[in-house]
């Protein structure tokens, strides 16, 4: 293996690749990157077994071959080098990095110890809008659970429904569901549960609104083709719980409130909320929404009254302030709509600018503190 390329080009890709290299692992090979010198390009791969990343970088290749070297050592050396052409050459069990005024040698391990990454079969690739995908990711992944006793909820459900594709995430206390028009996926695959870790990497690689992303749905994994970067992730075993049955359809009380005013007020009053539950009491009466909190530990109370548009009987509900603010931060437009039923049943939150079918969030109330 022998190739050369500019320092800045390599350093740029390595910083992305390093994001999936585990700092610790019981498998020593995972702390390495696999470098493959191909025809006029090199491919650098890393994996933590959950996610894999492979970058193709065009460069001058004098001799094809491959080598596996420690990722962090490579990155630390490259980032400190001054801008210049860097030459790589595999010699025996080492890789030599040559710069104009010196060289570094790193011990390598046999490339076939590196885990096999799924093959990218572009014939099965479906091209979808990067803007759509990033939008769905940003508006749903926040609601995934980190409770490892319910693994399916640790991921985002991605499914096709009629002419739409939708993503759903829930942790049992809140839920986010977003659907977009897309006929390309219609009937092509079963529901998949995708780890949020790989989905949250995608926005970093989508730099243009018009960019399309190739997606390959495998039986056990999903592959995202982002041009010179390929992201692969293992899927989470299902089944995903039947989320449709928890979305209420006949909540009779409706609150419309200015989103930003509510978000700011919730942030302020929650300073004096219970440190564990972050509970904020929503009291709805006439055209006013009263937010109140109490914190017995510091002997504090907070209260703010907001004007709102409310139809329905007077009601008091308790919500986790963080959940409310997470959701408000994802809604488009200036206003937020809350459809409510009672102090113990789920409330539906959406933006009046978008259809509930396209994006809605659901949040379970907390039992009100006495």
């Amino acid at each position: 293996m022998k190739f050369s390329l500019a320092k800045s080009k390599l350093a740029n890709y390595l910083q992305y690749i390093l994001q999936v290299v585990p700092s610790k692992s019981t498998l020593p090979i995972l702390t390495n990157v696999l470098i493959e010198a191909l025809e006029n390009k090199i491919k650098i791969s890393a994996t933590d077994l959950d996610i894999s990343i492979a970058s193709s970088i065009e460069c001058k290749v004098a001799k094809k071959g491959s080598a596996c070297i420690p990722a962090r050592i490579l990155f630390d050396i490259i980032k400190e080098l001054p801008e210049s052409e860097i030459n790589f050459e595999a010699t025996g069990q080492r890789v030599e990095i040559k710069i104009p005024n010196g060289s570094y040698k790193i011990a390598s391990v046999p490339p076939d110890e590196f885990p096999k990454l799924p093959a990218v079969n572009t014939k099965k690739e479906i091209r979808i809008s990067g803007e759509q995908l990033v939008g769905m990711v940003k508006k749903t992944t926040f609601a995934t659970s980190d409770d490892e006793t319910r693994p399916a909820l640790n991921g985002v459900l991605w499914q096709t429904k009629g002419d739409k594709m939708q993503m759903v995430a829930t942790d049992g206390h809140r839920l986010a569901k977003m659907a977009v028009e897309n006929t390309k996926l219609k009937g092509l695959y079963d529901d998949v549960i995708v780890p949020p870790k790989v989905l949250n990497l995608i926005p970093k690689f989508v730099t243009q609104e018009s960019q399309e992303i190739g997606v390959i749905f495998g039986e056990n994994n999903i592959i995202f083709n982002l041009g010179d970067i390929i992201l692969t992730s293992r899927l989470i075993e299902g089944p995903y719980p039947n989320f449709e049955q928890v979305i209420p359809t006949n909540n009779d009380k409706k609150l419309i409130v200015t989103k930003e005013d509510l978000a700011r007020a919730v942030r302020r009053v929650s300073i004096l909320s219970n440190a564990l539950t972050h509970q904020v009491k929503f009291s709805l009466k006439g055209t006013s929404l009263t937010l109140s909190t109490t914190n017995a530990d510091v002997g504090g109370e907070g209260k703010e009254i907001l004007e709102c548009d409310y139809t329905g009987e007077d009601i008091e509900l308790g919500y986790n302030a963080n959940y409310i603010n997470d959701i408000l931060g994802k809604l488009d437009g200036e206003e937020a709509v809350f459809e409510l039923s009672s102090s113990v049943s789920a409330g539906v939150i959406y933006s009046p600018e978008t259809s509930k079918d396209d994006y809605l969030c659901l949040v379970m109330p907390l039992r009100l503190a006495d």
């Binding site: 019981t26 498998l27 959950d50 076939d112 885990p115 693994p151 780890p195 075993e237």
Partner: protein, 378 residues
């Protein structure tokens, strides 16, 4: 680590494992039980290799059982404990239960196992299988497996799993995910939850013959034939114990065997409570493994003394290097029942140690009982 060693050393257990694979009836969970250092780890790793081997060898080194080829990519990585489909849960010393720390400590055990698969590691009572690793394994297994790989999860010294870890893994062990084999390794299967025992296919791993141990030492260590023979005879069928003894034997009086002999002699020669004081001085009484080794050596010394008292022939002595001392002590064994009473008490104490009793208290009580038996018989 080469796969054929399994076939040579643990033919019966390997036949059961390989047959289940050959017949397409690979169980979800296997429970490999038997003494430490008898190749249970090697059996588990070899089975992980067999189910992932690209070219299994059906002739099995002449044994008739299928063995992994040992040469394909999967075999090489599995035997190097560096395979993407393998997960390990091993007992490690107490830590802050952070995953990073648990991984570091687990890697120390895996490094020892890479160097010597028969090595007995983490025998101390204070080690346990941490919750952080149990949760990480559960998380890994909740993901779909990579194509073409059968995942293997090895739980080493399963009896050292904390209740919280067992709770985290119970469902997974009882019903492993698709394409996954769980291999539980333990000395004492009865210490595991009944639900785990009933869902596992139990495979007994028997002690080795002294000849196999001797051959292993001669082929893997630079050791004289005389020393290899001695170590194989005192190892009670465990290659791991023979290796431990081999390493200890290089340290003369400071070795485990030397200490064991000194304390043993003290039982007979010191009329007062000096033995107890010596024990406190020379043993790390928090280390269950060291205490167990001491008691096993005492069993062998009692056996040697009893033999010599009857036959007076050195050929019958296991601890030939202690021949002079054994002949002196043999005169205390004129009462034929003494050795049986002493060995029974030691066996009971060994069983108690496995149940995590207070080590120092158990050893002190044992020493007092043994002294009482000796004084009653003489």
């Amino acid at each position: 680590m080469i796969p054929s060693e399994n076939v040579i050393y643990q033919t019966r257990a390997w036949t059961i494992l390989s047959r289940s694979f050959e017949q397409g009836r690979t169980a979800g969970t296997y429970l490999l039980f038997g003494p430490e250092g008898t190749g249970r780890w090697l059996l588990a790793v070899s089975f992980a290799a067999l189910v992932n081997c690209e070219k299994p060898d059906k002739s099995g080194e002449g044994s008739g059982s299928t063995v992994p080829c040992g040469e394909c990519r999967n075999c090489r990585n599995i035997f190097g404990l560096n395979f993407e489909g393998m997960h390990f849960a091993v007992p490690i010393p107490p830590h802050e239960n952070k995953l990073d720390q648990a991984i570091d400590l687990t890697n120390e055990v895996l490094t020892a196992k890479r160097e010597e698969p028969f090595a007995i590691v983490s025998s101390s009572a204070s080690t346990n299988i941490p919750v952080a690793m149990a949760r990480e394994i559960r998380r890994q297994l909740s993901m779909k497996s990579s194509s073409g790989i059968r995942r293997a999860v090895i739980f080493y010294q399963m009896e050292k799993m904390k209740t919280a870890s067992a709770d985290a893994l119970l469902k997974m062990i009882e019903e492993p995910p698709a394409d996954t084999t769980i291999l539980l390794i333990t000395q004492n299967p009865d210490s595991l939850l009944p639900t785990i025992q009933s869902r596992s296919q139990k495979i007994k791993v028997s002690p080795f013959s002294a000849q196999i141990i001797e051959n292993y030492l001669l082929s893997h260590y630079s050791v004289s034939e005389k020393k290899a023979r001695l170590m194989s005879r005192i190892a009670e069928g465990s290659v791991g114990r023979a290796i431990d003894a081999l390493e200890g034997a290089d340290e003369d009086e400071g070795s485990t065997r030397g200490v064991a002999l000194l304390l043993f002699k003290s039982l007979f020669l010191d009329k007062g409570p000096e033995t107890l004081a010596h024990m406190n001085d020379v043993l790390d009484l928090r280390d269950r493994g060291e205490s167990e080794d001491l008691l096993r050596l005492w069993q062998l010394l009692i056996r040697d003394c009893a033999r010599v008292s009857v036959t007076d022939e050195d050929d019958e002595i296991v601890n030939v290097d202690f021949g002079t001392d054994i002949r002196k002590l043999a005169r205390y064994f004129n009462d034929a029942g003494l050795s049986a009473r002493m060995v029974d008490d030691i066996k009971n104490t060994l069983a108690d140690l496995r149940l995590n009793v207070h080590i120092q208290g158990a050893l002190m009580a044992l020493a007092l009982r043994l002294k009482a038996h000796i004084q009653a018989a003489n």
